[in-house]
């Protein structure tokens, strides 16, 4: 599989997941989007040394993974893009911050290491939350929710149209890549003599396609408005879902639950 094929596979996978039928899939997209944003903001707001307080925030992805039946490994795979940068930046903390926080079993644990692990955990939590949103919500419903949040229609139109053509383009790139490597089996990438024409050819074809697309829109009376599937109206269960999570986040943010539980056992 070349890179484009992998991307195509991943796009398909997200589509299929979003088409699932779990309890989470049936909540309003607007509510899910809001809860996700608030969750990520809450996670981001934890102090960089507050690892024990942060841990309990895993409750949100944990519960959602359990209810939706999604697998956590699929989510772990998504970490490959941002985690390297996060870890690369985080790994300097133990080097520069050498105050000893606590000595455990004779091994000194420095503030640097605490903050390093805090960054890593935060990264995993934040990505799980956005993964859970996208794996349980269709893109058109998200666009509708974005419209309700007053994001300009041109952005959502572009997102919908681009989403439609992304898989098409990626597939063309994949076919072209395969065609290239069939005739240049020893090359790892595109040789510099073909740098311009490779994507350039596709670009020219795409501009023609955009023209056809515009024709197709005009022929069906396009006047600047797009119509999507309606997001379900926000019902009582959505409001309950929202409130429960917000209260839980607030509790976890203000009380160090894990430490509290621990302190009941350790006196």
């Amino acid at each position: 599989m070349n890179k484009a094929e992998k991307a195509l596979y991943e796009l398909n996978e997200m589509d299929e997941l979003a088409n699932g039928n779990s309890l989470i899939h049936h909540f309003s997209a607007l509510i899910k989007l809001l809860v996700t944003i608030i969750y990520i903001l809450t996670v981001m707001s934890f102090d960089r040394y507050n690892l024990s307080g942060l841990i309990i925030m895993a409750i949100y992805p944990y519960v959602l993974f359990q209810i939706s039946g999604l697998s956590f490994t699929g989510c772990l795979y998504k970490l490959r893009f941002v985690l390297p940068l996060v870890l690369a930046i985080g790994i300097f903390n133990p080097l520069f911050d050498r105050h000893v926080f606590v000595v455990l079993a004779g091994i000194p644990v420095t503030y640097g290491w605490i903050s390093f692990f805090t960054i890593a955990v935060k990264g995993i939590l934040a990505i799980s939350a956005s993964y859970l949103l996208m794996a349980t919500t269709k893109i058109d419903a998200i666009c509708k929710a974005m419209r309700k949040l007053h994001i300009p229609s041109i952005i959502t139109i572009l997102l919908l149209l681009t989403y439609r053509y992304v898989s098409l383009m990626v597939e063309e790139v994949s076919v072209m890549t395969n065609a290239y490597h069939l005739r240049a089996p020893d090359q790892k990438g595109i040789h510099y003599t073909a740098w311009g024409s490779f994507l350039g050819q596709l670009l020219l074809r795409s501009m023609d396609r955009a023209k056809e697309l515009y024709n197709a829109m005009m022929l069906r009376g396009y006047q600047g408005e797009f119509y999507y599937v309606d997001d379900q109206p926000v019902g009582l269960k959505d409001i309950m879902y929202f409130l429960i999570w917000i209260i839980l986040f607030w509790l976890c943010r203000s009380v160090n639950v894990v430490q509290w539980i621990g302190s009941m056992f350790v006196r």
Partner: protein, 245 residues
């Protein structure tokens, strides 16, 4: 219903792509528009829809095709593009189907009823909520036709409706075309399909009308077809072979 009077068209300073073309199509007719690559078939279609502007006069249902009447013209004419991917620009089949009717001011309920009817007619109800980019070639073609039918056109223009389809899907599309009561103009190189769906044929060559007449007559004229870089349809070929035997 459709009137072409001395229509010419040329892209800047090139030779004329369409050169003084005139024809008349009655309501309910099925017309095959044939010709070699570059003969001007697509240009005729685009002129008819007002996507291009040429010289001469074009009228549809007595409405002259010009910039002012575009909205009315496009309500009457439905155009099925050759590449279904260009036609279907929304994420799902359903959203694509409501796009046209809603733009023409149909209410949500009416649109809903309309598209269900069409999906039933084409027997593709199961595709309603599928993603466009995940349909097979045959399914794409069917849904592209459905999106156009959703606008209830009186005239259907189809550009290569059977291109790149397997024999089964090709037959499905032919059956559907024959089921539709609208006035139809179909361009194709698939002359057997034209034979199965049309009663009249207009043969274009170098931007001019070379022949215009009954389907059976023109498509069985081997000499005329070969002069215009076309071939006898297979069914006539068999007939001829049988006669020789």
């Amino acid at each position: 219903m459709i009137e072409f009077k001395e229509v010419s068209f040329q892209y800047s300073s090139e030779r004329k792509v369409i050169d003084h073309v005139s024809f008349h199509i009655e309501k309910g007719e099925s017309v095959g528009l044939i010709g070699a690559n570059g003969a001007g078939k697509s240009t005729v279609m685009k002129l008819l829809l007002g996507l291009l502007e040429g010289e001469g006069e074009i009228r549809i249902s007595d409405i002259p095709v010009n910039r002012k009447n575009l909205s009315a013209i496009r309500k009457i004419c439905g155009f099925v593009l050759q590449n279904a991917d260009d036609q279907m620009f929304m994420p799902t089949v359903y959203e694509d189907m409501i796009f046209g009717p809603r733009n023409y001011g149909l209410s949500k309920e009416e649109t809903e009823k309309k598209i269900d009817e069409i999906l039933r007619l084409l027997d593709i109800q199961d595709l309603k909520h599928r993603y466009n980019h995940k349909l097979s070639g045959g399914e794409k073609r069917m849904t592209a036709i459905a999106t156009v039918l959703a606008m209830e056109p009186q005239i259907l223009l189809m550009d290569e409706p059977t291109a790149a389809l397997d024999p089964y899907n090709r037959r499905m599309v032919i059956n559907i075309i024959n089921k539709l009561p609208q006035t139809k103009i179909i361009t194709s190189h698939d002359l057997d399909m034209i034979l199965d769906t049309c009663d009249r044929v207009i043969l274009l060559g170098n931007g001019k009308i070379v022949a215009d007449g009954k389907c059976q007559d023109i498509l069985s004229n081997q000499k005329l077809l070969e002069e215009n870089r076309l071939e006898l349809p297979l069914s006539f070929m068999y007939q001829k072979e049988k006669e020789l035997l």
